[in-house]
Symmetry: C2
Subunit: 140 residues, 2 copies
Amino acid sequence: METQDLKKAGLKVTHPRMKILEILERAPEHHLTAEDIYRKLLEEGEQIGLATIYRVLTQFEAAGLVNRLHFEGGQAVFELDRGTHHDHMVCSRTGRVVEFYDEIIEKRQQEIAKAHGFRIRDHSLILYGEFIDDESASES
Amino acid sequence: METQDLKKAGLKVTHPRMKILEILERAPEHHLTAEDIYRKLLEEGEQIGLATIYRVLTQFEAAGLVNRLHFEGGQAVFELDRGTHHDHMVCSRTGRVVEFYDEIIEKRQQEIAKAHGFRIRDHSLILYGEFIDDESASES
DNA sequence: TGCGATTATGAGAAAGATTCTCAATTTTTT
DNA sequence: AAAAAATTGAGAATCTTTCTCATAATCGCA
């Protein structure tokens, strides 16, 4: 079923592209850097060059298959686009990322944009902080 | 009056720090990359190394004097912290940045965080798109 | 099903942004 | 004004991402 996604996106079905899609689909964290993907592939014996990973991710982004997010730290993270828009909460202690969606915020953004004569193409809302549950998990 | 800011922040009053603060205060754009600051200083005959600029900006950030923002494009931009929090709207055509603040969004963020057991330390909301007024200004 | 044209990949070089190193300079203290 | 402490500048180093180009894989068609 992944091959369909690639074809629909107008991309040829190649081994690297399939494998990268697979990794993104299986990743429990859902948010991976290009390096993360590179290492995960290596662990599975797939020796795919970093350059290819960046290239493919950029193509996936253009095709709407993945989103590129700019968290603090300058390193881009990628997530599979599962069709439903959402924003992010990032735990600075554990790196855990939680997604959320809020109708009220979405609506306000549109209203604010309108008031400023601005047409929103995309937006990024990220909350940085800590999950109180993770409090105990102290790491040296 | 700038020297006060530096002293209050526990930073020694040095020539580069003063000049960088000045540039940030005077910049009509309000949002500058380290390079921008470097070039503006050069134009004024101040030959301050890029390394110093990054170092000082990082110190200013730690002291709460400036904010570092991660727009699309991987290059960090810096703005003077004028005490009032705000979010950003970035025009992808002209690069124009407009600040806004919305009580409702701020409140919702807190509510959402609370519901998730999350303590917000900081947040970043950026709207990407175009200003309709800027529409005519086409650039090849 | 195999060939050829086209497109993708891999490795390393290159580019861009940011940080580090360390000797020389400036600030602050005395 | 001199000594101690902190800061700066220049370039090297690092990190992330993109580019180049020769080799390899994919797809359409015979």
